[in-house]
Symmetry: C2
Subunit: 353 residues, 2 copies
DNA sequence: GACGCTCGTCGAAGCGCTTCGACCGACGAG
DNA sequence: CTCGTCGGTCGAAGCGCTTCGACGAGCGTC
């Protein structure tokens, strides 16, 4: 019975078992499952019953080999330090959950395998498409992506994005929204505490775009703004804040775009003699849970990690079906007002000159 | 040329291409790659050269089908809220990186697909083995794991762990180490600020084991200890701390096992009139980067997420090779002394009565 | 000098699935 | 009544790889 190579299966239930049990051909079972050909209601029911009864699950490798579709997508994550961990996590969760809805699984790949990793994964047909996070303005993987003809969706925008599919929060407008909110409250001097310096140097899009949004809006609204990077340690935050307030004592509002810094900022300000929001208003660009758990609850522009994840997967699935998709998808920011921002006290405004 | 089904490959380079180019049989190429049979140095070199030249990467599906090994492992992550996000992240990174060293990839699976997800993945031969995180004392997936005969390694310990392979930090000793350190500094009344209540209720092992370690060691060393769960918001932390200090004003040291609470605790204590470490010592059980970035740098027992990840993968790989592995692997805690703990001030000790 | 080795290589048989073309009744149109 | 059509099913080929048995050549042994 047993031919020599390709040893007999262990416990595995195969499509042949199902076919035999249901009294049909294997191809019929396949068509029942894929719906690619019409099957009579009767046959379909019998097959489905057999499948359930035998506990049949198609062998992924065989399916991938025959159909040239692995039903797996790769999620390429930074996983380097200094990144905004909770956002990444939320994002990953959303991606996995959404992918499952499309009957796909998710392969986790770290960026540090770099272009070679992408190439390997593409060439071995391990995955049908990739989701790239933490895209930099000048990203080494982008040219490769174009060359590979591997369906992909980027989270974030590289400098040259034509021909690619990118999704992201509109950080430019997010920055602008913060400024607008503060300006509306009467603030005329604000500071942007951004990502760590390394992130800017790396040319990471969201940091740059937020900054430009802030600067631009400030100009338009006649607000003076000073922008500076911000490291993540409590000690670093204190140092940065102290220096900032020494140099610009009349800054009455802070925009913070660094989750890890938000806590320390809120903790440090009072020790520097500034109550929030009485003396200084704070707006954050950070995930909602963060904003809701902080000292005074934070007025914030949430980073909709989940929504981005869902959209990214949906776009990728469309591409896998060879559908046309928009090149750029920019999610509109919404600013949620909470307890960390207030109107400039007239007293202060007068004393500030 | 083109037979009807199994359409011609697109760009893919196959093993046949390599064989033709090198002037050998396909099987020889396969043996060069797998090393499962002796190959002359000459042939091996020629084949390797062809592989490199053509940019050949074996097709993952075909390989999996023929060899019954997917070279993929599943990483089952909690991805639910309330979990210690950075630890999970560090862990995932270590797993992916280590798995790659063993020439395996990692499939990301969320716990919320539950047992059905495991079953699906096992039956479809998508992965060769699984890594389970966030194992609970009474975990629904454990019985399934036994039934499935799917090689697995658990991070954490269920109540009944015989026959399984588990890895974790020895949280019992970690708790004890914190108490010993504090007792050595003269502290006689300490409090354990643990995980959120929900985590205890869920029966999560590490929380319970830490607590028992703390309580046991305290008893042995004649230290009085009060243990209480701790939520994650700044407001909640403040409430918890205020209540604690009101009820037990003579507590002179805190053990904190909740990364998200560490920041708020450090920020809140001074506002309650307690300087760290002058009036209150704080020991944390948390990842090192955290401890190093906090207000005063924290004396801590780091959770060696990376090490755990590496070990877990190594164990799983051994199991895949049908090697015998120990059932329990407990990593020994090391306590790093930093700036947040100090000897009880005699003054205080005197005034405390 | 024949025998049995081992070493290095090849050919063929599948792994479990998808998919194409063929086929066979039933049915509506002419 | 015949022909074309279409819905429903089957059989076979093949996806790209691994692995088993076979085999030829070279070599040491008695």
């Amino acid at each position: 019975m047993t031919g020599s190579p390709g040893r007999p299966s262990p416990g595995q239930v195969t499509i042949a078992d199902v076919a035999r049990h249901a009294g049909v051909a294997a191809s019929t079972v396949s068509y029942v499952l894929s719906g690619k050909r019409a099957i009579s209601e009767l046959t379909r029911a019998r097959v489905l019953a057999s499948i359930r009864l035998l506990g049949y699950h198609p062998n992924a490798g065989a399916r991938a080999l025959a159909s040239r579709r692995a039903n797996v997508i790769a999620l390429v994550l930074p996983l380097r330090s200094g990144m905004q961990v909770p956002v990444v996590m939320q994002f990953a969760t959303a991606v996995v959950t959404t992918a499952r809805r499309y009957d796909h699984d998710v392969l986790l790949v770290t960026s540090d395998e770099g272009p070679a990793g992408l190439r390997r994964i593409a060439a071995s047909a391990l995955v049908d498409g990739v989701l790239l996070m933490d895209v930099e303005l000048d990203d080494a993987r982008v040219p490769l992506l174009r060359e590979l003809a591997l369906p992909s969706v980027l989270i974030g925008f590289p400098a040259e994005a034509t021909g690619l599919t990118c999704v992201d929060l509109d950080f430019h407008r997010a920055g602008a929204a913060c400024v607008a909110h503060l300006a509306g409250l009467g603030h005329r001097r604000v500071a942007l505490l951004g990502a760590p310096a390394a992130v800017y140097e790396r040319g990471t899009g969201f940091a740059h775009r937020t900054r430009s949004g802030v600067v631009e809006a400030a100009e338009l609204q006649g607000v003076q703004v000073v922008t500076l990077p911000c490291e993540e340690g409590a000690a670093d935050v204190r140092r940065t804040l102290t220096a900032l307030l020494a140099e610009h004592p009349d800054v009455s509002a802070l925009i913070v775009q660094n989750e890890a810094a938000v806590g320390p900022v809120l903790a440090t300000l009072p020790t520097l003699g500034r109550q929030v929001p009485r003396d200084v208003s704070v707006v954050a660009i950070c995930p909602d849970p963060f904003a809701e758990q902080s000292g005074p609850m934070l007025t914030s522009v949430p980073v909709p990690a989940e929504e981005i994840g869902r959209q990214a997967v949906a776009l990728l699935m469309s591409k896998l079906r060879d559908e046309q998709v928009p090149e750029a998808t920019l999610l509109q920011p919404r600013l949620t007002v909470r307890d960390s921002t207030a109107a400039t006290p007239a007293v202060h405004a007068a004393g500030g000159h």
